[in-house]
């Protein structure tokens, strides 16, 4: 009889209650130009933190610095004071590389890399973990498909499967839904939310869509030019005046069915009838000046 896969395979080893991630004064500079300027953060185990901010605000760079992909200063430590390794942090990149000819099983299997020694091959247990993660995410029938042949939503589920196979207590997501339509975005985020509740995963996700961020994250961290501007529950951080300033455009935050919705303020009403393009308005302004 073949041994049964461990119960809840795909779930990380149980955490001590104190176990979480802490960063202090994390800074990243490229050629003297500081792009992350001192991020302090303390995460409870099982918490979802949403990183928000305009393009170039340092969200991705901060995530990558936690993984050690870019040189950083400052401290990053787990609750027990240890520096995190790839068995502690799994990562879902913004545009995952999907190698030609690689099948879903082969791809998800790579999530076990951190658990293998330099010359070690995967064991039966690694194999069972892959099988149970695929089954858990409803990917069993995709096992032999090539990753290149999957649709955007399917591919994203496969990347999540790889991250789960890594069995790390902290999951880092870089814009997990930037390539997906609204339906698939919700599907992916719901899946992550469900997994973190079941497994007690701690999630840090860089998110473009502020409404989605408000809906899924417990707390939000707003970055501008690499500096933290606000940290707290979505209701606090999503302040229209603050967002308008940071994003450089008037922004309104409304509540709809108990969810926060963030929308750009309506365009200013035009003085007279007829349609005007921005260029029309611009040229009229020029006339007024001259």
């Amino acid at each position: 009889m073949t041994p049964q896969p461990p119960v809840g395979a795909g779930a990380p080893t149980p955490l001590r209650p104190t176990h979480a991630l802490r960063t202090h004064d994390v800074r990243v500079a490229f050629q003297g130009n500081e792009v992350v300027r001192g991020v302090d953060l303390e995460l409870r185990a099982g918490e979802w933190l949403g990183l928000i901010g305009p393009n170039g605000s340092g969200k991705s760079t901060y995530l990558r610095s936690l993984l050690g992909l870019v040189p950083r200063t400052g401290t990053v430590e787990l609750g027990d004071g240890l520096v995190p390794t790839p068995t502690d942090l799994s990562f879902m990149p913004q545009a995952p590389e999907l190698p030609p000819g690689m099948t879903v099983v082969e791809y998800v299997l790579l999530g076990r890399t951190a658990h293998l020694g330099w010359l070690q091959a995967e064991s039966t247990q690694d194999r069972q973990i892959v099988a149970s993660v695929l089954r858990r995410l409803g990917l069993a029938s995709f096992a032999d498909r090539e990753v290149r042949s999957l649709s955007g939503g399917e591919a994203q589920r496969v990347v999540i499967a790889r991250a789960l196979t890594q069995q790390a207590p902290v999951l880092l997501l870089d814009e997990p839904t930037s390539a997906l339509d609204v339906g698939h975005s919700v599907e992916v985020l719901e899946m992550v939310d469900e997994l973190r509740h079941q497994d007690g995963l701690t999630v840090i996700a860089a998110m473009h869509d502020l409404g989605m961020a408000a809906r899924y994250a417990d707390r939000l961290l707003l970055l501008e030019h690499g500096s933290p501007q606000a940290l707290g529950v979505p209701e606090e951080v999503l302040d229209p005046d603050l967002l308008s300033r940071v994003y450089g455009h008037p922004i309104r935050v409304v509540e709809l069915d108990g969810h926060l919705v963030v929308v750009p303020a309506p365009r200013p009403t035009r003085p007279t009838g007829g349609r005007h393009t921005a260029i029309d308005l611009e040229s009229r302004r020029m006339e007024e000046i001259s």
Partner: protein, 364 residues
């Protein structure tokens, strides 16, 4: 999604999934056995074909009889025995070892550089070995050491020097495969120029000898070159096969590989070192044999897919098989003269590779 209904795939029989997973893990037993059978066939054919044909049955009996503990009736004459053991077999084994070396090194380089055009001569190995050969053959530079002749030694050192040069030029950028590749191009250009200059200083007979070596030629010097090659093939070959898993992770790119816990620069250094040593050793006894290292991994991909765990070991066996077969042609097509084996591999390899490119199947 919170109350996800069971999708059809979730209800699929679990053993189908287990089978898929098992398939992904399956050691390439069937394919490997098939290729090894082909290799045995190639060795038998190569050992019995030549200026003096040997009966295949007698060859098999002689080979089986050589295994300690196995006693079979021998049917070859003493003279045939001598031809088989002193001329044919060493030459055949050399062809197989060189072919396997070049192909496995090619697979390693293609994995490390994530480039389907990578071949064993990429980092200046060919030009470095060529310069060494010119100096040894043409100018009598004598670096012979112990049982190793001056020519293989000079070619080996030239090859290793060129690669060390490439790695040093790329230095800090060893993290970036593209930079290393460009450094190899620069190094190859420099060594080629030196080699060409040295060639112009030679008289015609010697220049001809050097050129024929450069085209790729399997020596018929008994077991000595085979013995020289074996340690490299075993050691470097084992290193490459054991790192095939790393090459699969590297296919995701350096950032993702690092986030998964691999150290790409270190893996790359190990694989490049092993592939370079095995190539330099092969080149030092056989000259430059084109296309084996480039094409064999692509053939394997067409057969078994893109996982390096299959590509690396199968390339070794298939490259050995291919060169053993090609060597039969080299010895018999224009007998009693001999064709440089590198000319035949290029004649076969170039059109085949063009075909693979045209089909659009050349992915690393």
């Amino acid at each position: 999604m919170r109350s996800r209904t069971p999708t059809p795939e979730a209800q699929r029989a679990p053993d189908a999934l287990e089978a898929s997973v098992a398939r992904a893990f399956r050691r390439p037993v069937a394919a490997l056995l098939g290729c090894v059978a082909l290799l045995v066939l190639a060795i038998l054919a190569s050992a019995s074909q030549g200026a003096a044909g040997l009966p295949v049955e007698g060859v098999v009996r002689s080979l089986v009889g050589a295994v300690p503990g196995l006693d079979v009736e021998q049917t070859l004459t003493t003279q045939q025995e001598q031809v088989l053991w002193q001329i044919r077999l060493p030459r055949t084994m050399l062809a197989a070892l060189v072919g396997g070396s070049l192909a496995v090194a090619g697979a390693g380089y293609q994995g490390v550089f994530r480039n389907p055009l990578a071949d064993p001569y990429l980092l200046g190995v060919s030009a470095g070995a060529g310069l060494g050969a010119v100096l040894a053959l043409g100018f009598g530079l004598d670096l012979s050491w112990g049982p190793i002749d001056a020519l293989p030694m000079a070619a080996f050192l030239g090859a290793v020097l060129a690669v060390i040069g490439s790695v040093l030029v790329a230095r800090a950028s060893f993290r970036d495969p593209a930079t290393l590749l460009l450094a190899g191009v620069a190094m190859a250009a420099f060594f080629s120029a030196s080699q060409t200059y040295a060639l112009t200083r030679l008289d015609e007979t010697r220049a001809r000898e050097v050129l024929s070596w450069l085209f790729g030629r399997l020596a018929t010097h008994g077991w000595q070159p085979v013995g020289m090659l074996v340690p490299y093939v075993v050691l470097a070959g084992a290193v490459l096969v054991l790192h095939a898993r790393h090459l699969d992770v590297l296919r995701l790119g350096d950032d993702e590989a690092r986030s998964l816990g691999l150290k790409p620069a270190r893996s790359r250094l190990v694989v490049v070192t092993a592939a370079t040593l095995i190539t330099a050793a092969a080149v030092s006894v056989s000259g430059l044999i084109a296309f084996v290292g480039l094409v064999t991994p692509h053939v394997v991909r067409l057969l078994v897919g893109h996982s390096y765990r299959l590509i690396v070991p199968l390339s070794a066996v298939l490259g050995a098989t291919f060169l053993a077969f090609v060597d039969i042609g080299a010895r018999t097509l224009v007998a009693p003269a001999e064709l440089p084996v590198g000319v035949i591999t290029a004649f076969i390899g170039a059109p085949f590779f063009s075909f693979v490119l045209w089909r659009g199947k050349a992915n690393p």
